[in-house]
Subunit: 377 residues, 2 copies
Amino acid sequence: MQFKLHHTDQKSDARAGTITTDHGKINTPIFMPVGTIGTVKGVHQAELKEQVKAQIILGNTYHLYLRPGMETMEAAGGLHKFMNWNGPILTDSGGYQVFSLAHRRKITEEGATFASHIDGSRHLFSPESSLGIQRSIGADIVMAFDECPPYPSTREYAKNSMDLTHRWLERCVTFMNETSPKYGHSQALFPIVQGSSFDDLRTKSCEFIASQDQPGNAIGGLSVGEPIEDMYRISKLCCDVLPKDKPRYLMGVGTPANIIECISRGVDMFDCVLPSRNARHGVIYTRNGIMNMKNAKWRTDFSPIDDRPDAAPTSQTHTKAYLAHLFRVGELLGPQLATLHNLAFYLSLVTEAREHIIEGDFADWAASVLPGLERKL
Amino acid sequence: MQFKLHHTDQKSDARAGTITTDHGKINTPIFMPVGTIGTVKGVHQAELKEQVKAQIILGNTYHLYLRPGMETMEAAGGLHKFMNWNGPILTDSGGYQVFSLAHRRKITEEGATFASHIDGSRHLFSPESSLGIQRSIGADIVMAFDECPPYPSTREYAKNSMDLTHRWLERCVTFMNETSPKYGHSQALFPIVQGSSFDDLRTKSCEFIASQDQPGNAIGGLSVGEPIEDMYRISKLCCDVLPKDKPRYLMGVGTPANIIECISRGVDMFDCVLPSRNARHGVIYTRNGIMNMKNAKWRTDFSPIDDRPDAAPTSQTHTKAYLAHLFRVGELLGPQLATLHNLAFYLSLVTEAREHIIEGDFADWAASVLPGLERKL
């Protein structure tokens, strides 16, 4: 994996770059749609490529490990072939789902034991097993196995958790060095900064993570309930310490406005279930504001869902009234159209942000779009 | 609406023709996907056109009348514009749903009163109101308001019901003659033959229906629980009486094998929820047989869902293992892929049937494909 930094904004820390993987290039800043169990919910792979214009998607190690399982995954030749997606893929380490979704979890120096949320079966995720699973999945970018402390955490908990994450990282790096990819393409490890909302811990974690000299770095443990100011402050603090010549991935963030704010603080990569999950509940993001399609007022609005030329094609050809009707009657096509819309919207937003970074007017552009992004329609 | 009969098979009653509507041509024999409430469940309109290759779709008057309602429908400019489908549309009369779905229904000479299955509100469907609603929906082909007797029915019930359907038909014809289309394109009325499983009633009904000299004719009251032999016998009996120069539409039929059998008996048009409803439950139709994707054995079958060049594109690029995985984990993309597959399969089947009718070897071709169509895999 290679990263080339093309431009850094004069009035902010926003950056435009390009990541090159064996499955293609990714222009940063980028938003990565979440394809939890080998599918971005409700979206065909061809639509992801041609309509959403996704350049990289996420898979969740925890979910894929449980189903279809690694025997099937390896027999398929990895996730790219299993789901028929030939673009770049990033997998998380499974740690976050163990802490948020699994039952009876217990953390030890070795790793985390847990019971499957599906059948209660017991499993162990460790730095080695998580990366071993990610080798079997075959993502282009794999994430270090970390502990994401809950918010709020005491300083002591956050410090101990961070130290454990650092020790686990060293084992991740060793495992990656001692093993090879399974499908002929390379896999890049991204370590994850932790440290909760404590600035000194975050600084220390960034320095440690940077010292591992991996191809990219991630900021974890944010968007877990902390005040928005904390998220912005910690993001900036981390970007100021993390190396400039490597991409920075802020995990699990966020709203369109969050993404613009964090781009301006130096983040290059984002993922979040928000646009797809909210879409399935009828919430639509536009440049003019946020619409809840379950609101009766849209049922007689025969204007396009979004008439911008960079909106999803189906958002330009279908009306708000039609989409509101589909949600009202509970038809599958409602979530399908809404998900396509929101994901295409997120991608068009980061694409335009990148253009303005390159053109040198990102800060002014960001200030001009932020009010619309947060408006309720 | 015009119908041109091109070929009739020598060894069977199979016919190849073309229906011309103001929204385009329909090559017969044809299968019409069901788009109940303004959407074929789980399928984008562009997919219907480009991947399923649907030439005409159905809308259900009962459902569309209740939601979005005719005020919204007229404000949208009719169903074509409301759902953004510019091909031909056929609407049923609403009668079947009143008898199968609505509550507290009561039939009188005037029509049928019923309570909505959604909110219990009371409504009346009559020949005039059904056709009035179908004028507001704006389908290219509209169906006469009929009573579909349950199976089994006594001869007396079937006779009285048929006579009522005939009297209602005369009111439908009068209403159509005295009113005009609302959106500038023409609407053709298809009367419906009834008479349950009684051959003499069916013959009489066909003669009466034919005497009304409408642009096409439909056979109703089949596929309601009668033995398959009855369905085939009555279909043939009706086709033998109904005029040759008009299309014949067998309502609500059926499996792939049913469709081939009824094409050979002279039917030109079919609709059925079977391919789309069964798809959502993981049942996939192929030339080699029927697969239930919830069966564990498919989870490790990495061959394409269907590698025939006329299969849905996604069936050629995705594996059975992937589709089985999607159904196992309950992902939306499973029903989406399965629905695309089954509808494209039905359309490819009638398209190939038509080619063989034109080439003159339909009967041999039908005999060669029928065993595969009914096999369980």
